[in-house]
């Protein structure tokens, strides 16, 4: 079994699709030696109560995440650009709810 240097099995993130047509949603994580073990463990840990019809497992280290320090440069510039929201169009009544 491959182990990382802390003596623990690698961490996997688990995504479950609850119904056909819906998106996979992140539900949690677990430790497993490889993808097959992760898939079975995900089945046992996260779908025992009929939660899913499809499972994705992804090695946590394969996920690239933005860092909190980038918050200012990444997200703040969008705060004052209301024109990017399509809220200035008059909708004809006939359209109803989009």
């Amino acid at each position: 079994m491959s182990k990382n240097n802390k003596g623990e099995l690698p961490l996997y993130e688990v995504f479950i699709r609850s119904k056909n047509g819906l998106d996979h949603k992140h539900v949690g994580s677990l430790h497993a030696a490889d993808a097959e073990m992760a898939l079975m463990a995900a089945r046992d840990v996260y779908t025992r109560r009929g939660e899913g019809v499809s499972i994705w497992v992804v090695k946590s280290t394969d996920i690239v995440a933005s860092s909190p320090e980038d918050r200012g440069s990444f997200y703040d510039p969008a705060d004052d650009k209301l024109y990017r929201h399509p809220t200035f169009f008059e909708l004809p009544d006939e359209v109803g709810h989009l």
Partner: protein, 252 residues
């Protein structure tokens, strides 16, 4: 034995197999090597408990003496139990538990497949439902046999030791006594002796992939069909039956 007695006995065998193995797996609750496996083992144990309930309820109805699933599970002594000797063997280390599980899962998969074509519709229904669960159990235990057999030196050695320790309990799975024969003739039961070649093929394939050596057929023990058990069953029953025997009709 009348036809009814034989069907009752046959259903007890099926139910007791599931119940005793399920009880054994429950012993791992909180003790498995990792949290994920703890949940897997108890899930499988609960699947087996569910199967046992269906078989024993049906057995009770066939017997017609007013014994329900609980009565059959909690108020029978060792000589009246019909589970395979293999399944009452102690959990040992994780390799031992997985080897026991793998040998039985790969047998039960074939038996449920056969029973899902039973002329007894209720039995066929239970088998078809259980087959889905057993398909997963077999996948899970097969994975561990290969992982540990083809793992480290220590895991390989422990897995080899486990399959050798259990090997002599396996021939009993394929025994056919008068009850089995009668059930096959009626199209109700499975011809377990005929399952052996397919079981051998599957098990040999997995052992090879796991770099494990198939043990020689040297010793074997049997007796469960006549209620002759190893000493271990008594301890299992003592733990499992204590509460309802000490406090009959206790409610949650």
């Amino acid at each position: 034995m009348t036809d009814k007695d034989m069907l009752f006995d046959y259903l007890l065998r099926l139910g007791d197999n599931s119940l005793i193995l399920g009880q054994r797996l429950a012993e791992w609750c909180g003790h498995a090597p990792m949290l994920e496996e703890d949940l897997a083992l108890t899930n499988i144990g609960l699947d087996l408990l569910g199967q046992a309930r269906m078989f024993l309820s049906y057995a009770g109805e066939v017997e017609g003496n007013g014994r329900d699933e609980d009565r059959l599970a909690y108020f029978r002594d060792t000589k009246d139990w019909r589970n395979l000797l293999l399944l009452e063997q102690p959990n040992g280390d994780f390799a031992m538990t997985m080897a026991r599980q793998f040998f039985f899962d790969s047998f039960q998969y074939l038996q449920f497949e056969a029973l899902s074509n039973s002329t007894d519709e209720r039995l066929a229904g239970i088998a078809a439902k259980s087959l889905k669960e057993t398909t997963y159990h077999r996948r899970h235990s097969t994975d561990w046999i290969i992982r540990l057999g083809d793992g480290t030196d220590e895991s390989h050695e422990r897995m080899q030791r486990a399959i050798e320790a259990l090997w002599g309990y396996l021939p009993e799975m394929f025994d056919m006594d008068a009850v089995d024969e009668a059930m096959v003739v009626d199209g109700i039961g499975a011809d377990v002796a005929a399952l052996r070649p397919e079981w051998d093929e599957y098990v040999n394939g997995v052992l090879t992939e796991a770099t494990l050596t198939r043990p020689e057929d040297s010793w074997s023990v049997r007796g469960s069909r006549e209620g002759k058990h190893s000493e271990h069953l008594g301890y299992i029953l003592a733990e499992m039956q204590f509460l309802p025997r000490a406090y009959p009709d206790a409610k949650w």
